[in-house]
Symmetry: C2
Subunit: 265 residues, 2 copies
């Protein structure tokens, strides 16, 4: 089916999912919505985040997408695996990440890091326990990681300070798998990996959601049969120019598609 | 006149203005709106911030306030001294802060720090030049100050690192006055003052706006003639409970009034 895949996030983090989708499903069109006028979601209340997520979902539905990915760690954990759309396939990043973590762990000791809203929700822990009843899970909110990434502190001593501050209690618990429960965090993957050590497997929920989507679309016979290069269409609620500038860090290159302003509320 | 004074901000920073108003004008009622569902404003585009500021102003007008104070550094610098209301007195924090800075400086060398939007607007520099044509002004955006304050890093080596990183180029220019152009920054006043030295006068725009408002209301004969203690009424667009918790840092004590949810858009 040649309809596009819809992806949304509070801002830029979801672009890590777009990058993974472009690699896995090069024939597919993608429509992305970044709610840059209301970013961030991670320190807002459950009610407000879910209200925004419903509006974001409705915007993508209005674009006639064939599947929706909530590529936002906060939204995904607050809805706790429940879909925001029922007439088309829907996934957040929570369940794909949890499945990947449960597949990767050998010791059943799993760490989760995320925004304050994500960690307070306890959703990752509950979802892990559904698969691995005896798993040990330790969560830690990392409220400074998003501002650090957005302001370019992705290496060096300031980044190292906060990585140690947030991850020390997790490292002490000898986890062998760590879920990077916010789609901004893969930008800090190198420095987090260095601190945790090479024996700890890092799970990027945005990438896992892209893998899940590719399987779901294949099994529901919804992949695009045409052999042409897919296009990306980006919509944002604040300045398209600022989005284009900031996207480079997440896509690892210039923006590969049109960027338009969208009024979503 | 016994109508309330209206104050708004993107979130919590404007509470420094409320605190100053409560001290200067203890008989006055205050209605505060904090746009916590869309916080922060400082890294959003001019169009988006002004759209939000107009909505915030209209909300306060619907509460029949007698004056409006935009207690947000970003809003104040983007409107550049132009009022958002014309039927009642209105002030931002820009002009009162600039007047105080021009009165305080002896060397005519003034520093300004603020959010990226504030510094990019160049408004502080233009407003200073209107009063002191020969003044030298140096501005610096400090994007990590708001997350540092919001996450409690107001002293210690991390706060010191960023104070040095942002203020070193300003200190090198031998300014004798520094405008803390965002209503979050007075929370960092001690550590900023220590770094800049006691000869540098720090200007808090939120407090200066409160002083200006008290004079404007007096001269327009709009002060409350009743000899009773004024009340504070707080409205926020996200969780009232979270607001109450976080307000302590800005008010220097527990919230002194009711807090209600308001839908503003």
């Amino acid at each position: 089916m040649n309809r596009a895949i819809g992806v949304f996030d509070s801002g830029l983090g979801g672009l890590t999912t777009v990058k993974a989708l472009n690699e896995l499903l090069p024939n597919e069109d993608i429509i992305y919505f970044g709610d840059t006028a209301r970013i961030p979601y991670g320190n807002k209340s459950r009610e407000t985040v879910i209200k925004y997520a419903v509006q974001d979902t409705n915007f993508l539905k209005s674009k006639n997408v064939k599947m929706i990915i909530a590529a936002c760690g906060t939204v995904s954990s607050l809805i706790g695996g429940k879909p925001l759309a029922s007439d088309i396939p829907f996934t957040g990043v929570l369940l794909p990440a949890v499945q990947a973590a449960c597949a990767a762990t050998r010791t059943k000791r799993i760490g989760v890091i995320g925004t304050p809203s994500t960690i307070k929700s306890g959703s990752y822990g509950k979802a892990v326990k559904n698969i691995e009843q005896k798993a040990f899970i330790i969560g830690k909110e990392c409220p400074m990681f998003v501002p650090l990434v957005e302001n370019g502190y992705t290496s060096g001593k300031i980044a190292e300070y906060f990585v140690k501050e947030y991850l020390e209690p997790i490292k002490k618990e000898n986890v062998d798998t760590l879920i990077l429960g916010c789609t901004h965090y893969p930008i800090l993957k190198d420095i987090i990996g260095e601190y945790m050590g090479e024996d700890v497997k890092l799970i990027s929920p945005g990438e896992e959601a892209a893998k899940y989507a590719s399987i779901a679309l294949l099994s529901e016979n919804l992949l695009n049969p045409e052999e042409k290069e897919g296009k990306n269409f980006y919509y944002v609620s604040d300045s398209p120019e600022d989005f284009e500038q900031n996207a480079v860090q997440f896509l690892g290159g210039h923006i590969n598609g049109t960027v338009e302003l969208a009024n979503v509320s």
